[in-house]
């Protein structure tokens, strides 16, 4: 047992960190709920025939006038809050993970190459990254949204909203990956195993992806978790501001925007429940990210 724990240091730290365990539990529950939303949810919020306006604005079960069928109440359209949230989280996670994947592939690829080749290539990539950093994510999203509206036929625009949103988020996140990958690659380039591989005459792509990449995965994994939270938040912000997804296919951000209208009208649950849900998701992912950073950085232990 002791030998086993010694071997899996990370696991030992995990079972001794209540915060990490609670965070993992929350994140996993939310993700399971999101993935299986079509089977768990009471109604399909995208299907107008599955809910009725007569059920509109019902409060959660612990308040008077609630319908026990809708545990957390309904919104003004009569959509079950739980169903909306599960479908919304599903959409938010899909966009977040897709954006993160694009950002990671783009960022790690460019960062590795910049660190490996150095010189002019490095300078060009990093200046582009600096420019990207100077643009707020919302501006990037507006820009891409504008371009998409300009060049895509109107019929396609609705279908491609998710893609546009994903691309906008990915573009504002790749810089983190590129910078971290480049800095870690610089460190590895001075290691003698890399020099040995170069001396042998191995292809640059093999040196980068077979030799260097596995050695810089630690910090990149940490960035991935932290940036997943950012991506979800960014999507929520954009949707909240109306640049993101429309009301008929609500993500978490769209739900919060809808709820804003009811902030002062007594139907608090329409705003607060999706908001708390978003906060719980983002906070637990961030705690997991912090925990991973501790595991990968022996100096902080």
């Amino acid at each position: 047992m002791i030998a086993f724990l010694k071997r899996y240091e990370g696991l030992w730290l995990f079972v001794h960190s209540p915060a990490a365990m609670v965070a993992a539990l929350v994140a996993v529950l939310i993700m399971i709920g999101a993935v299986f939303a079509p089977w768990i949810a009471l109604v399909n919020p995208y299907d107008l025939s599955s809910f009725s306006l007569f059920d509109g604005l019902l409060p959660p079960v612990w308040q008077d006038g609630a319908n026990p069928k809708y545990l957390l109440g309904t919104d003004d359209q009569g959509r079950d809050m739980i169903s909306s949230i599960l479908y919304g989280a599903r959409l938010s996670l899909v966009i977040g993970i897709a954006a993160l994947t694009i950002a990671a592939v783009l960022g790690v690829g460019l960062g590795l190459a910049a660190g490996y080749y150095g010189g002019r290539f490095d300078a060009i990539v990093m200046r582009i990254a600096d420019v990207q950093l100077a643009l707020p994510a919302i501006l990037t999203a507006l820009l891409i949204d504008g371009i998409a509206r300009g060049i895509l036929p109107a019929a396609m625009q609705q279908d491609l909203r998710v893609a546009v949103l994903t691309l906008a988020i990915a573009l504002s996140l790749w810089v983190n990956f590129a910078r971290t990958a480049r800095a870690s690659t610089f460190v590895q380039m001075n290691k003698e195993y890399v020099q040995a591989a170069i001396m042998m005459g191995q292809r640059p792509s093999r040196v980068m992806f077979v030799h260097i990449l596995p050695n810089i995965l630690g910090p990149l994994l940490v960035i991935m978790t932290v940036d997943l939270a950012s991506a979800i938040l960014l999507e929520a912000t954009l949707s909240f501001l109306g640049i993101g997804l429309p009301a008929d296919s609500p993500s978490l951000g769209t739900l919060i925007r809808i709820g804003m209208q009811f902030l002062l009208s007594g139907e608090w649950w329409i705003l607060w429940i999706p908001t708390l849900f978003l906060v719980a998701l983002v906070v637990s992912i961030n705690i997991l990210g912090d925990f991973l950073r501790d595991v990968f950085n022996p100096r902080l232990r």
Partner: protein, 565 residues
């Protein structure tokens, strides 16, 4: 006078307390230099840290008596212990780069320390600081004291650290590897200074080091440690000259002598057994000798790096790392290359392997021209014929790859063996040849010690069927007994496969044991090159003579007899 009796230090861990040192006895009289020697992990630094009360948390003194004069060091409150540190006990650290504050002038650091321990005015403290610097041999002290640490050279910086240590007139100074980061010339000055301070000021020194040469040169008494226990203690001539403990004996056997050459190091049997097995690998290597012995010739090699830019509009002055280097490594011989840090030894190795492009000069491998770094294609035959064993075995193996993957890479990369199973078999046989268990192929580098990793690195180089091997300080990161094993291994392999080796080292004694010819490099220029025995017996260049004179040596009569054969 420092008295240590039955000292034990433990480190609690979640798997129970780990005993770092136990049953350590030692006394150090005023004016005595007491050497504490042992290999890495022996617990020498832990003894020093326990005495000064700076054990790394959560370590604690579990047992024993620690006293300085009449003061019981274990009974002190934290405040009292703080008072004693710096006042009665001082410390000199290994690395003078990091033990001085780079943002404070030497003056401020000295005055701060003096005023922290005695109630004197700033002017008085400054006068004392200047006197101290004069005493430890810094000329123009009144002026130089205004400088920042980076304006001093490494040796000067270590002197300043020593000045800081003695500025409060301590009774005891703990010097933890004080000369390990220094070149021999500077090392000898620092050692002279320590000896003078012990004699003139009657300071007791605890000199912690892994270098037996240093101990032999200045320590009055010596304690040999291993795995947290004292193996042997006594007068230096007696312990080193006539060791009674088998460990001390083995340690002395492993120290390369500077003044004569021995055929092989005598090492404990269990580690040499491996060399005779690994027949499959041996056979494979021998059948791959399609080339004859391969020498290397360097003609007028110059390497320049871009220097620091001083003006936006002018081209930066180039920094010359190697200047007109001519070197001829005879086929089948070992060429030793010695020099202090910054002399361009590693730059030369990188130029040969193509990692650096020389600005002028030509290289020949055997009879063929060896193209410069950038002009050398990835498929050039030299990529296979020239292999390298690096200095740091902790960074030369990819920690995320299995040993099997590391060793089979050259086999498939150079297209030697097509069948994956056969590659694994050959890798395992090669491990046996370099003296390791063949089941290591399934493990990862972190599961091995430095010496074992260096063996794996040698095995990787051999699996490329090289004809020319560059060893860049292959043993300087290793303990002396491991160094002896690796040097023996390299000698055996060289004899077995007729390799030509360029052996780079800062350690003259090691080069004397290994090399047929030796070249001395200084500031990018070859000062002297001749047959090793000639060079050591009759050095011609002033610089070589100086290097030889300054390297700490043991008196001949202390040395163990050479193993003949």
């Amino acid at each position: 006078m420092l008295t240590i009796k039955d000292l034990a230090v433990k480190f609690p861990s979640r798997f129970g307390d780990v005993t770092a040192i136990a049953d350590v006895d030692m006394t150090i009289k005023p004016g005595e230099i007491h050497g504490l020697v042992g290999e890495s992990g022996a617990g020498k630094s832990t003894v020093g840290a326990a005495v000064i009360g700076l054990l790394a948390a959560p370590g604690y003194v579990a047992n024993g008596k620690l006293s300085l004069g009449d003061t019981d060091l274990r009974k002190l409150t934290p405040e009292q212990a703080h008072e004693i540190r710096g006042d009665r006990i001082s410390m000199i650290f290994q690395d003078p780069q990091t033990s001085l504050n780079p943002l404070m002038t030497i003056e401020d650091q000295l005055i701060e320390t003096i005023q922290a321990h005695s109630d004197v005015s700033e002017t008085a403290a400054r006068t004392r600081a200047v006197d101290l610097l004069e005493e430890i041999g810094i000329k123009n002290a009144a002026e130089r004291i205004k400088a920042y640490p980076h304006q001093f050279s490494g040796g000067m910086r270590q002197r300043v650290v020593i000045a800081l240590a003695i500025c409060t007139d301590p009774e005891l100074i703990i010097a933890d590897e004080p000369t390990t980061a220094l070149d021999v010339a500077v090392q000898s000055q620092v050692l002279d200074l320590i000896r003078r301070l012990a004699r003139d000021r009657q300071i007791a020194f605890m000199l912690i080091t892994h270098d037996i040469g240093v101990i032999a040169q200045i320590a009055d008494r010596v304690t040999v440690m291993r795995n947290g226990r004292v193996m042997e203690t006594g007068e230096t001539p007696q312990v080193l000259g006539a060791p009674t403990h088998p460990y001390t004996q083995a340690l002395m056997d492993a120290v390369p002598p500077l003044d004569h050459r021995i055929a092989r190091f005598r090492v404990p049997e269990e580690d040499t057994a491996g060399v005779v097995t690994g027949n499959a690998a041996e056979k494979w290597l021998l059948e791959g000798q399609q080339y004859a012995l391969t020498g290397l010739t360097l003609q007028d090699i110059c390497v320049r790096f871009a220097g620091p830019r001083t003006s936006l509009f002018r081209k930066p002055e180039p920094y010359v790392a190697l200047k007109d280097v001519n070197l001829e490594v005879r086929p089948g011989s070992i060429m030793g290359l010695v020099g202090e840090s910054g002399s361009g030894k590693s730059t030369l190795a990188k130029a040969i392997t193509g990692l650096i492009t020389p600005s002028s000069g030509t290289m020949h491998l055997g009879d063929d021209i060896l193209p410069d770094g950038k002009a050398r294609s990835r498929h050039h035959p030299s990529r296979q014929l020239v292999q390298m064993v690096f200095q740091d075995p902790y960074s030369s193996l990819n920690s995320r790859h299995r040993i099997g993957a590391i060793l089979t890479e050259p086999l498939w990369f150079y297209g030697f063996v097509q069948d994956a199973k056969e590659r694994e078999r050959l890798a395992a046989a090669m491990l046996e040849l370099v003296g390791m268990a063949p089941d290591a192929v399934d493990k990862y580098p972190h599961q091995f010690s430095g010496g074992q990793r260096q063996r794996i690195a040698v095995a990787r180089a051999l699996l490329a069927r090289p004809r020319f091997l560059i060893c860049d300080e292959p043993t300087s990161a290793l303990d002396v007994s491991i160094q002896a094993e690796i040097l023996n291994l390299l000698k055996d392999l060289q004899a077995m496969f007729g390799l030509t080796i360029l052996f780079i080292s800062h350690n003259l004694a090691v080069v004397r044991q290994m090399a047929d010819d030796t070249a001395v490099l200084r500031n990018g220029v070859i000062e002297e090159m001749s047959a090793t025995e000639d060079l050591f017996a009759r050095p011609k260049a002033d610089y070589t003579q100086k290097l030889l004179a300054l390297t700490p040596v043991m008196p001949r009569e202390w040395q163990s007899e050479a193993v003949t054969g």
